[in-house]
Amino acid sequence: MTTMTIAKAINEGLRATLKNNPKSLLMGEDIGPLGGVYRVTDGLIKEFGEDRVVDTPLAESGIVGTAIGLALRGYSPVCEIQFDGFVFPAFNQITTQLAKIHSRTNGRCTVPVVIRIPYGGGIGSIEHHSESPEALFAHTAGLRIISPSNAHDAYWMIQQAVECQDPVIFFEPKRRYWLKGEVDVENAGPSSDPFQAHIVREGSDATIVAYGPLVPVALAAANAAAEDGHSIEVIDLRSISPIDFDTVEASVKKTGRLIVAHEAPTFGGIGGEIAARISERAFLHLEAPVIRVGGFHMPYPVAKVEEDYLPDIDKILEALDRSLAY
């Protein structure tokens, strides 16, 4: 067991990948000598050279498009998109190409490309640096989407993403980059399947589902609720596509109540999918409607008001109150 930050855990995970998988390579803007604007690739170019850690021209469609070509040649590229808000120039390559090549070739070709995206707000940043666009990828079949919430998962999930033969979008909770945690670099343990949800706190009165940056918030809300005598179960979804509905369903059948929290706007967000599916699967068990806590239907607002925008402990508690009072 070693203690490290999430950023360091991803760095170590990438290092392990580059060591163990000779076909893996990293591509992106500023990932070389700078080590990425968040230093997630720090030191890797020194260790593995310019052919394995590639500073690219400033062109996201080109990054993902050439990564696809490299994958077709047998490589496993890991692309870094510098910030959530800058993935959209690559949207066409991701949606119409990356996601569909396995299907288009009738299963003959695989394109094991990983796209790393630091995402989410809460860091007081300027426009386009705080968004949570995961729902815009989840709707497209052919992609897998995962997001770690702690260092141990971060270390293992990035490696699992590279090994996965399907394209994986790897959302990194940027405001948690400096969150420290224990990492077992020998054993993935219960984190051996990146597409499985984890129950991170057991409870019996209601379930909160969250992922990435909001997992610590959900846990804090559950702890606060415990002081009021409520026993809250918290699920770290880990995988946004596919979603481990079995784990959520079992929890809700036990608790009868569900809150889903994410930073992305509620309208059209992944919370709607969870609410709809769990409402169908556990219809007779639900004692209250599924309540979603998410961003408002607005562009991510300026830093000085993001506190009012972001789901936080209070908003989750308010939702819990509504659910418990139903």
Partner: protein, 399 residues
Amino acid sequence: MGSTQLPTPGTDGILAEVPSAGAVSGEPAAEMVQLLGPDGKLGTDPVFSDYAKRIEPEQLRRFYADMAKIRRFDQEATALQRQGELALWVPLTGQEGAQIGSGHASQPQDYIFPTYREHGVALVRNVDLADLLRQFRGISNGGWDPRENNFHLYTLVLAAQTPHAVGYAMGIQRDQKLAEASGSTEPKAAVMAYFGDGASSEGDVHESMVFAASYNAPVVFFCQNNHWAISVPSSVQTKIPLANRAKGYGFPGIRVDGNDVIAVHAVTEWALEHAREGRGPVLIEAYTYRVGAHTTADDPTKYRESAEETEWRSKDPLDRLEKYLRAEGLADDAFFEQVKADGDELAAQVRATTLSLEVPDIRSSFANVYAEKHPLVDEELAWFEEYSAGFESDEEAAN
């Protein structure tokens, strides 16, 4: 005739002179590599004549035979579409010179990314033409295994394959470094990316050229300027010859007469050598014409004069090679009759195979969404099985 000035072998970064930038793309540029004119006479070029001289008579006859074959195939596919056997067809007639010439310049180890009209290249790369029709019959999005002949599937989102080509070429660079380090003597390889005059306007083409130049990737961009993007003339995409685009990135750009199979072959061979030898990317603009409709769903009378089509028919790539072969005594009536017979046989065979192609089941779509197990796909497939079974039992009950 070509007065193209080329990089001295081994000297990097010197641009080929491309046609005068002032020229208007609607008319042939003053400077365009041409060896075999519409009159069937072979001219010379300071650089490319050497390449043309390498072509044996047998290979020239093969060029003709392949052009004739793919044109015959084109007719058959059009007929199949008219008869309702294909959802759509994308004819290549007029562009045989550009495709057969460039295709034959590639070597087996080269990898090719076509757009969707490169049937001639597919033929040269040994793709089963009935497999090629799967896509247009609506039974597959990719009818062949791209790895088998190093010929990628058609890509319908315009220009999206161009960065794939560059990435693939970056993979080749890495493989070759490793191979060299281990003393292997595998032949060097390059990549070709085909796209049209219309597609040239897409941002992806630019980003591809930026990456290719930046990494000196072994890739040949082969733009078939067939004068039209559906109804939009190439003058809307560019006011000057497209070959000039290469000047923006610092690699050679060459406009070649796309209806001159000999020049196309020579220029492409040169370009692929250039790329394979590590001297970086090349852009070739094959100046040609889409003689027919954009697709069987298109009606060119809405947007262009038939006089233009007539004029281009007089520059036909087959006619001029036939003239040359006959004039030089390299082929006789018997040869041309045999070519015709072979074409008819191919057409009959493709038709028969196409009509007997199995219709897929949606279960195969479920199977290929992901390479690895996926619970949602499994769940939806299970629902579908139960749902379908319901109909079957309904039917049984009704019987």
